[in-house]
């Protein structure tokens, strides 16, 4: 008989416990309770989010694998598939930034090679508190070092990502990691167990007591008492994972496998249960056979351990030795720990004695599903109101531009990405910092382009529109490299779903993602949900992060943000409306988080993206860069950076949004209206570009020329910005490292 406090410590509600008893037809023992508790945790069961996630578009002729497997897959031609997914490691990274981030990278890589794909690219999306806080600097430094430590060692390039800073992440940083791999579509392998009598193998690191209840921890808020709950931190072992990666890919070529899955959250429990459940089979294992790092581990501990770098395999009967031989070559010892059965049960034995026996379906399909109450948050009406006439004094445009360029969200992230090996595997054709990351696909003329984006501030101000804007921006970034967006993955970082206001944010964001993905034809192939991102009752900004993957037909026609030559035509595609709501300008220069985020016309967005792909593939344009944080002024400056000092002289239209002329100029320069891209073209090609834009229904205007060493921007006929490009570049390029000068690694 299990006592109520024990049930509560397992994060199970009384009615959930009753449901367990009725599913089993008896009281569970402690091991069984532990197994239920992790499988029914928010992290593994998606009990709060599932009803909403179901509404996302997941189909399309290009989708080879939608949500439900370890990762999604899309068709990239020539019989090849791109396999990708994003995952969060927020809570562990707060407790121990280096190891938390490192093991996050390790986890997402396993999800990709588990599908049979060779991982070829990593990206990450990070959120921290203000860099003025030493604590945030320490966390950032640790997280970046951890990502580098793992990714560099295993030899997968980190080709891009994004970082933003808001006070709401100070006590709850976000570490979302994306990985993409490629595989012959016919060789995709799944996480299924089937065929009674087939062997169940364990391979990889030994099991220790680390991370027990990590999944339940990721499903509870932090408070002062959570220090006690904190289990030993998991330490990543990229060398072990490199061996596993190579060995598993080699084993997969033997055709001796039925299925394979990594042991991530909830370790052995989750992998056995999910594989059995997907294959409609049962699995029986003996925990005494599981390699153990510490002595005296109980079956409970062995089943719940989250030790890293472990895989579970189902091997065809009779092919065991073949598989064992491959692992031996890599100094790994695959251990036969059990069998597939026909009874649909997860049966755990310890030296032959049954210590747990649960129907797989009870752990997966029968897990609770909640339609949690929702309510529009009270703060919204207040923060959405923005009176530009009451802004007060706005600084001169040049001063504002320099402040924005040096603001950590906009400043160059070179200090970060030079710590990542972004060139290993010799595929990277767009280096970090130049726009979406692009890797060529060897053996084909093509390349894959990918971007992760999200704007928590927008989503705080309007989760529905903010989420749509995130999808649009990720897809637009991909299109700016010349690639056609094909599919998306998402990582949904939110607060405590048991609060109706948070649940409302979540539902609205998912709705926005669905609408935008449908309109832009980028189906969702998978993702991850991270809830309970709060510290002491203060939730993070609602932060959906979207990863979009697209394809370029000609890798060598890839575009970056950089102007290529002096004398080129500078063309603005799309219209600006001087929308300052939620902008970086308001935050950085005016200290305000207010207003509605920019409007989004999804039809116009799609037309723009299709036009970009056409222009790039027909080689009519030489660079493309979208307008986002900091508006067109920041965009134009960024087009000039890393371009050997090639500046530009442009003139843009004014806007009429306030009585004060200076506010109008600021709105024209720094407003963040969506669906705008600055492109450059050889002078002779400009008319054709404008003609194609007109035909596509995309507003296009020749706004100036590249050249000189001064960035000059006139607004409504009057010069508003006149900055030596060297000064602007210096402010932008060195901002981040100035925060980290003279710090210890």
């Amino acid at each position: 008989m299990i006592e109520a406090p024990v049930i509560e410590r397992h994060g199970l509600k009384p009615d959930e416990y009753d449901r367990i008893v009725s599913l089993l037809g008896r009281e569970p023992n402690l091991t069984e309770l532990g197994i239920f508790s992790v499988m029914w945790s928010e992290h593994c069961s998606y009990k709060s989010s599932r009803v909403h996630l179901k509404t996302l578009p997941t189909d399309g002729p290009q989708v080879l694998q939608g949500p439900g497997e370890n990762a999604g897959a899309i068709d990239i031609g020539d019989g090849l598939a791109a396999v990708f997914k994003i995952e969060s490691h927020n809570h562990p990274s707060f407790i121990e930034p280096y190891q938390g981030a490192a093991t996050g990278v390790g986890g997402i890589i396993r999800d990709i090679f588990t599908m049979g794909a060779r991982p070829i690219a990593l990206m990450n999306s990070l959120r921290f508190g203000s860099l003025d806080e030493p604590g945030s600097r320490r966390i950032l430094e640790g997280v970046v070092a951890g990502i580098a430590g793992y990714g560099n060692s295993i030899g997968i390039p980190t080709i891009g990502g994004e970082i933003a800073f808001e006070p709401s992440y100070a006590g709850n940083p976000l570490v979302n990691v994306f990985c993409l791999g490629t595989v012959k579509a016919s060789d995709i392998i799944k996480g299924v167990a089937s065929g009674a009598g087939n062997a169940v193998y364990y391979v990889g690191a030994k099991t220790g007591r680390d991370g027990i209840h990590g999944a339940t921890m990721a499903s509870a808020e932090f408070d002062d008492k959570s220090a006690e709950k904190r289990p030993a931190v998991q330490v990543g072992d990229p060398f072990m994972e490199k061996l596993l990666l190579e060995a598993c890919l080699e084993v997969m070529r033997t055709d001796a496998l039925i299925g394979i899955q990594d042991m991530g959250a909830a370790g052995l429990t989750c992998s056995t249960t999910e594989m059995g459940s997907r294959g409609g089979a049962g699995i029986e294992i003996d925990v005494s056979l599981v390699p153990q790092r510490e002595s005296g581990m109980t079956p409970y501990e062995t089943m719940l351990s989250e030790s890293q770098e472990r895989m579970l395999l189902v091997v065809k009967k009779g092919r065991e030795q073949e598989v064992e031989r491959v692992f031996e070559k890599w100094d790994l010892h695959a251990v036969h720990i059990g069998e597939v059965t026909a009874d649909g049960l997860l049966r755990v034995k310890n030296r032959g004695e049954v210590v747990a026996e649960i129907p797989n379906r009870a752990l997966t399909d029968e897990a609770p599903v909640y339609r949690r109450p929702m309510e529009m948050p009270a703060y919204l009406a207040e923060v959405q109101a923005l009176d530009l006439d009451a802004l007060g004094p706005v600084p001169r445009a040049e001063q504002a531009l320099l402040a924005l360029l040096a603001s950590p969200a906009i400043a160059s992230k070179r200090w970060v990405y030079r710590q990542y090996d972004h060139m290993v595997r010799t595929n990277t054709v767009n280096l970090p910092g130049l726009g979406a990351g692009v890797v060529r696909i060897k053996g084909t003329p093509r390349a894959l382009s990918m971007s992760v984006d999200g704007n928590g501030r927008y989503c705080y101000l309007d989760p529905y529109r903010g989420a749509m804007l995130a999808v649009a921006e990720a897809a637009r970034n991909v299109a700016c490299t010349g690639a056609r967006p094909l599919g998306a993955t998402n990582c949904l970082n939110f607060g405590n779903p048991e609060r109706p206001a948070i649940m409302w944010q979540f539902a609205k964001a998912v709705e926005g993602i669905g609408v935008a993905c449908r309109a832009l034809d980028v189906p969702i192939t998978g993702g991850n949900v991270s809830l309970y991102n709060e510290t002491d009752g203060n939730p993070i900004y609602p932060t959906p992060v979207i990863g979009v993957v697209g394809m370029l037909e000609h890798a060598d026609r890839v575009l970056s943000r950089r102007f290529q030559a002096a004398g080129d035509a500078v063309i603005l595609l799309g219209d600006g409306f001087g929308e300052l709501g939620g902008s970086e300008l308001l935050k950085v220069v005016c200290g305000l988080v207010r207003g509605a985020p920019p409007a989004l016309d999804l039809k116009a967005e799609r037309a723009l993206q299709e036009l970009l792909v056409t222009l790039a593939q027909s080689q009519l344009i030489r660079s493309a860069h979208d307008c986002s944080d900091g508006g067109i002024a920041v965009t134009l400056a960024e087009c000039c950076f890393d371009a050997d000092g090639t500046a530009a002289d442009v003139a843009i239209d004014g806007v009429d949004v306030a009585r004060d002329e200076r506010v109008n100029v600021a709105a024209a320069l720094f407003g963040e209206s969506a669906s705008r891209v600055v492109v450059s073209a050889a002078p002779g090609a400009a008319p054709k570009v404008l003609e194609l834009a007109a035909a596509a229904g995309v507003p296009g205007r020749l706004i100036g020329r590249t050249g000189g060493d001064v960035l000059r921007i006139a607004v409504a006929g009057r010069v508003a910005v006149e900055l030596p490009i060297h000064d602007a570049e210096d402010a932008w390029a060195t901002a981040l490292e100035r925060y980290f000068a003279r710090r210890v690694a």
Partner: protein, 79 residues
């Protein structure tokens, strides 16, 4: 005065480096090396001649900078 600080992973924390070194030693034939744990070692030169003071200072520095309390523990010796 010199203080020496030893930083080791807590016993419950997995030490992949130590594990890999032990494996390497085994494959070199050193089977009598049963286990290896790797840690860090710091020598601090301190502008004090008092042992108690040196110990206190070294501990403070270890807490603050040299050891990561989440996964590591440390020991201080004063010469």
């Amino acid at each position: 005065m010199r203080a020496r600080v030893f930083v080791t992973l807590k016993p419950s924390v997995f030490d992949p480096q130590g594990r890999t070194i032990a494996d390497a030693l085994h494959s070199l034939g050193y089977s009598s090396v049963e286990d290896v744990r790797q840690g860090k070692y710091f020598e601090l030169d301190l502008a004090t001649t008092e042992a108690a003071q040196a110990r206190a200072l070294a501990s403070e520095v270890a807490d603050k900078l040299l050891a990561n309390p989440v996964i590591e523990s440390y020991r201080v010796e004063v010469e």
